[in-house]
């Protein structure tokens, strides 16, 4: 086929015109797509490409109940109801709806908030449940929106509150288990990068889409027994009421395994209302964070040391005069009258301080608490039984306590004579 375009003909004019228009297009497209490529790509990405964080689910916390895990901490979706006052056209209807459905979760002065027409975002109610949000959505009010978030819920209420701790507004664990293993419970947020439409719906078009799924936090099962914990807390509360004491702690462990079966402290708090707590002491667990002088409990450890080293036996005897002198200090018994030649078993039964100072002396030369005796006691107390050291329990704010070594000037014979019956050292209930 031969195109025969005669000079001046309409066909030729049309062809030239088409070519000119195409040339203009090509030049313009070259300018836009090649020369200004980076600029427009950046602008398009800015408009269309959105990065959405996919929040990881925080791990749940369980206790045991007769061999079955039962939840103490779960997650629940709650909603924040907000409005765009600029486009709200039925403010009174919206106020009535919020009050009727959200009740106590509604913010005060809703009419004032909705009157702020220059604002595009006003929170009307917080912690709205899914059902409440659904009821409000059904009304289809213009300018009303909902933002989903996750909150911790405590089906057992205050039970084991101090062990659990709580999660603050920034989503970080505070106190207790929530704080100690926060990283494990938190997991890792995912990322969705995608071209979106005007309603932020992700679209599969584009080649810069990224979808990194979140890594949910670990669920944790504690050794705590729900029934034992509940009973312990009740017994502690009753005991404190009976004695008139203001605070107290109880710790129950399986002696075979060291598993903590219950850990109760008073006063306590409600973890779902942690922000109402006036005194932060309520968050602490004295069982692990308040070292104290354990007193006569330590006598069993001193006796153990003596027996294990062969310095004394249960039937070994000493002369009890109800007092004993160590350097310039005189130590007396709280229980008096058990004087004479008595066995160490007898001293243990009556919790006689003199008996255990004598054990400490017999760890040395038998007459005084020598450096060798103090070193032996330190070896057993600190190195073997780990008194004065962190146990590594997965709870926040554990304190180590103090066992003064013989190498310290404070670690003299008087100190160690006191340590023999549980004074002059600081340990936690958990260590004991």
């Amino acid at each position: 086929m031969q195109l025969d375009l005669k000079k001046g003909s309409r066909a030729r004019t049309l062809a030239i015109l088409t070519l000119v228009i195409m040339a203009i297009f090509i030049v313009r497209l070259f300018y836009l797509q090649i020369i200004r490529h980076d600029y427009y790509v950046a602008q398009a990405n800015n408009e269309q490409l959105k990065q959405l964080i996919i929040p990881a689910k925080r791990g749940e916390i369980y206790a045991m109940d007769d061999g079955t895990p039962v939840p103490l901490v779960l997650n629940q979706a709650v909603y924040t109801a907000f409005a765009d006052p600029k486009i709200v056209d039925e403010p009174q209807k919206m106020i009535d709806l919020i009050h009727r459905v959200a009740g106590g979760n509604a913010r005060p002065n809703l009419d004032r908030l909705l009157g702020l027409k220059d604002s595009r975002y006003q929170i009307l109610a917080t912690k709205v449940t899914r059902q409440q949000a659904e009821m409000m959505k059904k009304e289809n009010l213009r300018g009303l929106g909902f933002q989903e978030e996750s909150q911790r819920v405590y089906p057992e209420g205050k039970l084991a509150a101090q062990i659990l701790g709580f999660v603050n507004n920034e989503g970080k664990g505070q106190y207790g288990l929530e704080d100690a293993i926060n990283a494990r419970l938190t997991g890792k947020d995912g990322l969705l990068q995608s071209v979106t439409d005007i309603s932020n719906v992700p679209l599969t078009i584009g080649n810069k889409n990224i979808n990194i799924p979140p890594q949910n936090g670990e669920n944790v099962v504690m050794t705590l027994d729900r029934n034992v914990q509940a009973y312990t807390e009740k017994a502690l509360a009753d005991g404190l009421k009976k004695s008139g004491a203001t605070n107290g702690s109880v710790l129950l462990m399986d002696p075979q395994t060291g598993k903590v079966l219950s850990m109760a402290n008073f006063p306590t708090y409600n973890p779902s209302e942690y922000n109402k707590v006036q005194n932060a002491d309520a968050f602490n667990k004295e069982t692990i964070s308040a070292p104290y002088e354990p007193g006569s409990d330590i006598k069993t450890i001193t006796m153990t040391t003596g027996v294990d080293k062969g310095a004394v036996g249960p039937e070994s005897t000493y002369n009890n005069t109800d007092y004993i002198t160590v350097d310039d200090a005189t130590i007396t018994n709280a229980t008096k009258g058990q004087t004479g030649n008595i066995t160490f078993q007898h001293a243990l039964n009556y919790s006689l301080n003199t008996g255990f100072v004598t054990v400490a002396e017999r760890l040395g030369d038998g007459k005084s608490i020598t450096l060798a005796a103090r070193n032996t006691m330190y070896e057993y107390f600190y190195n073997k039984l780990h008194l004065g050291q962190l146990t590594g329990i997965e709870l926040a704010n554990e304190q180590a306590g103090t066992i003064i070594p013989p190498s310290d000037p404070q670690g003299n014979a008087v100190r160690y004579s006191n340590m023999a019956f549980g004074q002059g050292l600081d340990v936690t209930m958990l260590q004991v």
């Binding site: 086929m1 195109l3 025969d4 375009l5 066909a11 049309l14 062809a15 088409t18 039962v70 939840p71 779960l74 997650n75 629940q76 979706a77 449940t129 899914r130 059902q131 819920v153 089906p155 057992e156 209420g157 039970l159 439409d197 719906v201 992700p202 679209l203 599969t204 078009i205 729900r226 029934n227 509940a230």
Partner: protein, 116 residues
């Protein structure tokens, strides 16, 4: 009897081709001018463009479907979580202790222990 042929068969001159491999050329009596050609090409480009344009919304319509399904899954997960929480609350010790069943329980008048 004579007849006129409208189709011409030309034998391929090359001897290297095998037998029965004739080619035909259809000579159409319709002649297309340059304007028609231009218009046809423009039409073809337009049709191709339209086909492309119809594909893009079709792809994004799947995104909306996927979004709806994702939203439904999230909603069902939330419902499941709500039920788990409700279940945990109903079986919580405090609720069990305060339940009407527990309140109506009475102390046994006599307890006999079975020996081994």
């Amino acid at each position: 009897m004579s007849y006129a042929r409208s189709t011409q068969f030309n034998r391929r001159s090359s001897g290297s081709w095998g037998r029965n491999q004739n080619t035909t050329r259809f000579a159409s009596p319709v002649k297309l001018g340059p304007v028609t050609h231009t218009v046809l090409v423009a039409l073809m480009i337009t049709v191709l463009g339209l086909i492309y344009l119809t594909q893009a919304p079709r792809a994004t319509s799947y995104d909306y479907e996927a979004q709806k399904i994702d939203s439904k899954i999230a909603d069902l997960n939330n419902q499941k979580t709500d039920l788990q929480v409700e279940n945990a609350r109903l079986t919580a010790l405090e609720n069990v202790q305060n339940s009407s069943v527990a309140r109506n329980m009475t102390q046994p008048s006599q307890t006999d222990y079975v020996g081994e």
